[in-house]
Symmetry: C2
Subunit: 392 residues, 2 copies
């Protein structure tokens, strides 16, 4: 009998270093956890009520693979309110944002197909193509001086375009980005789209943080400039903007020719999201704009507070995130962010994610999720700054 | 610009012929739909209450990838009540039964790996390996005289064993089976397990109908006879036994060495099932035994009624299902079950699934889901028998 081990491609997937710090720090009293990408506010009541009403009405049966029509239409209306001409027939509801990426990758990636992405990146973006036996090439983001004088994460567009060739099947682009808070400009997106039209490359645009954007009401989206026949798939999620991480609901916008294939893939992955969860999604979309606006304003203030507090520490480069919920900051001389994050859990009683969890270029940094109650965040920032000062 | 179409492997997946009949028959007044694998009773209130309580308590955040501990422990207790020595550390909660199969296949199948399964089969069982670029070989089930004189679906064990060689990575075995109601005996399972130990082949046992079994309280399970180190993965689901199709909750039982890999794969597929759905699962497991027993007794009566009614029709061979919710019956001279199912929707006002939806050997049959209110089923059986008589 052989030892029951999974395939090499799965063994090669890194275990989450975020989880390793989390497990190591479990049970430390008075620790403030800023390691996970999760706002600390529960889902608003008006969203929960929609789920309760659906359950009470006995909606405990299968849904169509692409989602119930009211949800697909609410998503289309939401996109239209944000200035896009997306119609409901191009919408596929999914069992979370990460599930949307998995489905889109299953739709376009054969084994051996080349994928290009940016780094540092969300671990899931690197892992999903590998599960499907598609190799991933990363193009590095870098810290640079922004227009307003502060540091921001930027892409080297020439390097990205050079990496995307006619042999590249998919460009998997997360903007605003986790962990860096990097965001494409409209002009950069247009250049990338034009380039990918020439190379025949699919763009999978992970835009789950588009409404947590601090340079305007919504981040530039590839859906703003792509036509319905372009090889562009947009990924979104209810998790971040509507404080619904635990609901596992997301969506895809795709070309019409892809929808039949996506419906089949949904059938063979989860078949559908629960109808009562989809009803909650309808309430979130139709009644949630004020919630998002208020949250984005709060998070913007928290972002500024975070960058200001960390920037006072010698040896720390704390960029200002264009979007998202994170500060991904550099610490001079930091070479083992995993070990240091564990020490900080005990010593400073703040849980951060180690930069090495986020792929090439991540070492030497920490990720801090600033989407917290303001008083909690202030306390945490004091502790982190103090720890880093003593360390330096 | 190239046309935006999905990969060939996805285009090659058959669209659901069940859905084709369903769409064709949508809007026919007074039609009785027996095409989908779904009991027509809503989820019991004691299960819904657990979800509502969880939502009210604000459990709207991420769960651990393998599921919350109370659910994993409730699943272990449930398995133990059914005579198995499964411990909670070998349990992985999943976002539905089909999601469990997808995860298990991602854990063990590299592109090109050989899969063996039985046919006729649930379409999803044939499709999932193909999505992962793993070819599927089917071994035919056949109709035979059972011990009590009536017809049943059986496996030719010699053919199955001959198909499983050292080159076979996975045997994907659904028992009790959809659509046939076929079930392995304990002796057959032991022979298969012994054989797969020799060939080094994984067994993925889809046992979601194990409690809807009519020869005893639970169908023989590979988990009854496999040790924790065997290459055996058990798939189960809350959908059928607890009338929770719409909740999308299932689970895997796997060898300890597989659990780390499964946790990673859950992270990259859906990250977790919603906590409030998992709480509903705990209630189902801990308080649902009486519900299952009553339901199985009812379904057994409905199964007998179905076989008896269909057997009176000349040219019809109606086997008696050992488990599950379906009668998969043969109609003499039937060569296009898809077209005939559409005609029957209009002519007899009963919706059946065409046999051709279920892979090799399915043509010439219909699948009828008998898990209905008794009066509804009786009416439907009268209509189907009348239609088939007039046809013959």
């Amino acid at each position: 009998m052989h030892a029951p081990i999974p395939r090499a491609a799965v063994r090669a997937l890194e275990s989450s270093r975020i989880r390793e710090v989390y497990n190591d720090g479990a049970g430390i009293p008075d620790l403030i956890p800023l390691w996970v990408g999760e706002p600390d506010i529960p889902t608003p009541d008006f969203i929960k009520r929609a789920a309760n009403a659906s359950l009470a009405a006995g909606e405990t049966f299968y849904s169509p693979n692409l989602g119930i029509e009211p949800l697909r239409e609410a998503i289309a209306r939401y996109q239209q309110r944000n200035g896009r001409t997306v119609t409901a027939d191009r919408v596929c509801a999914t069992s979370s944002g990460v599930n949307a990426i998995m489905l889109a990758c299953q739709a376009v990636l054969d084994p051996g197909d080349k994928v290009v992405t940016l780094a540092p990146h969300w671990p899931n973006i690197g892992a999903i193509p590998l599960i499907l036996s598609a190799p991933v090439e990363t193009v590095p983001l870098h810290l640079a001086q922004g227009q307003r004088g502060h540091m921001i994460w930027r892409v080297d567009l020439d390097r990205l375009l050079a990496a995307i060739t006619p042999k590249t099947r998919l460009a998997l682009l997360n903007s605003p980005g986790n962990p860096t808070g990097f965001a494409f400009t409209r002009e950069e997106q247009q250049v990338i789209l034009d380039h990918c039209r020439r190379t025949g490359t699919w763009i999978l645009a992970d835009e789950v943080y588009e409404r947590l954007y601090y340079e305007g009401p919504a981040a530039p989206s590839f859906l703003d400039i792509a036509g319905p026949e372009d090889r562009v798939i947009g990924v979104n999620s209810f998790s971040k903007s509507w404080a619904m991480t635990g609901w596992r609901l997301g969506w895809l916008v795709a070309p019409p020719a892809l929808m039949d294939g996506l419906a089949k893939l949904v059938e063979y992955n989860t078949s559908c999201a629960p109808v009562f969860v989809q009803r909650a999604g309808v309430a979130a979309l139709d009644e949630g704009d004020a919630f998002i606006t208020a949250n984005a304003a709060l998070f913007r203030r928290l972002r500024d507070k975070t960058a200001a507090a960390l920037s006072t520490v010698p040896g720390v480069t704390a960029p200002v995130a264009s979007g998202g919920m994170y500060s991904f900051f550099r610490v001079e001389g930091l070479t083992d962010s995993l070990a240091e994050a564990k020490r900080m859990s005990r010593g400073a009683k703040v849980g951060l994610a180690p930069g090495s969890a986020f792929g090439p270029g991540g070492e030497g940094h920490f990720r801090l999720c600033f989407a917290q109650q303001e008083a909690t965040l202030e306390k945490a920032l004091g502790r982190v700054a103090g720890w880093l000062r003593r360390r330096g």
